[in-house]
Symmetry: C3
Subunit: 169 residues, 3 copies
């Protein structure tokens, strides 16, 4: 469990509506990343945002360090450019599988959710392997019918992660 | 992105109803395949249908080739018989995990959807391994409360696919 | 297909409501297990319950044997204690991915469902690997807005399962 992401009591109807919205968000977000349009990735976030990818152990000891840490859309844009250039040297396909969406809190403005993810990687001429697996702790703001990420903390289990490319989750 | 499968604007209520219907379809379809009842597989398709399993690279260059190509239920029936005979020589268990359903278009007659899949394979006395992973591009027609597949294009990332058995996705 | 878990006809609205409830249950149940709070695991079951984890082949020949067999919450409590002690010697992270929920029967008191699962394991300093993959056959009783498991039969495909630790699914 990550601090600030405790489960609160949410009315059933609200929770269902929120879960369906989060699942829709995941599907759009992953479709963009998995088709390699990483330049559109920052558009899923609010201008002021926090994005962190970190190992489970760091969260247990409440350490702020992580594989990736970005504050604000501009840092995500920089990161997107860096990744798209790295990819040219070692092209690969990524596939995100999102499951187990759990609504931790929800009101008219915000949704807090936990989800599980499996990120598969396929190198050119290679097999598909588990690149990263873990939990997402998300804080969304409602933006009309859609959602925007104000905070995403991806907490992965995989200790021996290939750190040559930290593709977004 | 596959040609003919562009995301269009779908009213929220329609999209939710369509997604729930597609998820139900996936669960039924996969339950039949995973329990080895491959002879019932063609029943999920319309009489005139297109079924293709192809590598990501082929779709990028818009090549029609693929690992599997079938037009019409009869070709699927032939294929089902061929697979059930092959399986006798090398029995294995298949498990389909379907996630990330995304509604691309939906109206009273048709639903167009994209989904992610992970197909796991377990050989007798063997470990469970990733057999195939990728995206499904589906065109469904409504058939009462249920759906039928008019077109399924499975676009896999896995380049080194075991081609001794192309089990349906 | 497991005996007693045949698909029956369920009205569409009932099936959707039931599926959403089962998916919520899975998310809560797995969040508890994946965060290592195994002492809370038995709370998801009714006092009189059946929990079995078994290989696909055993169900095909209708054999009662399995990797794990427990009757009643007390046996689950014993098991939880045993596992938490074993884990101290070889700490690992588990991650459950639940997909393909299929409603087999549902009424005001009970829901019978089938789901697919992928259980990933990450040893300390190790990679993430497939620990177990298979199907769940569940019988839930309604408990207010929530559900409790009266019966769970996990039927896995993975034949070469690491039997040093049979972590719950």
């Amino acid at each position: 469990m990550l601090k600030g992401f405790e489960k609160t009591s949410v009315p059933r109807e609200t929770a269902i509506e929120a879960r369906l919205a989060v699942e829709d968000f995941h599907a759009e977000y992953c479709a963009v990343l998995d088709s390699g349009e990483i330049e559109h990735w920052p558009e899923f976030f609010t201008e002021q945002c926090l994005y962190r990818v970190t190992e489970y152990e760091n969260t247990e000891y409440d350490l702020p360090v992580g594989l990736v840490y970005a504050e604000g859309r501009d840092m995500l844009r920089d990161r997107a450019v860096a990744i798209s250039r790295t990819q040219m040297f070692a092209p690969r396909r990524m596939l995100h599988l999102m499951t187990n969406v759990r609504i931790l809190a929800a009101n008219d403005e915000e949704i807090v959710a936990q989800s599980n993810y499996l990120l598969l990687q396929t190198l050119v001429e290679g097999a598909t392997t588990v690149h990263q697996a873990g939990r997402l702790y998300d804080r969304f703001v409602r933006n009309g019918d859609a959602l925007l990420l104000k905070e995403r903390q991806a907490v992965y289990d995989t200790a021996l992660i290939a750190n040559d490319l930290a593709y977004p989750v």
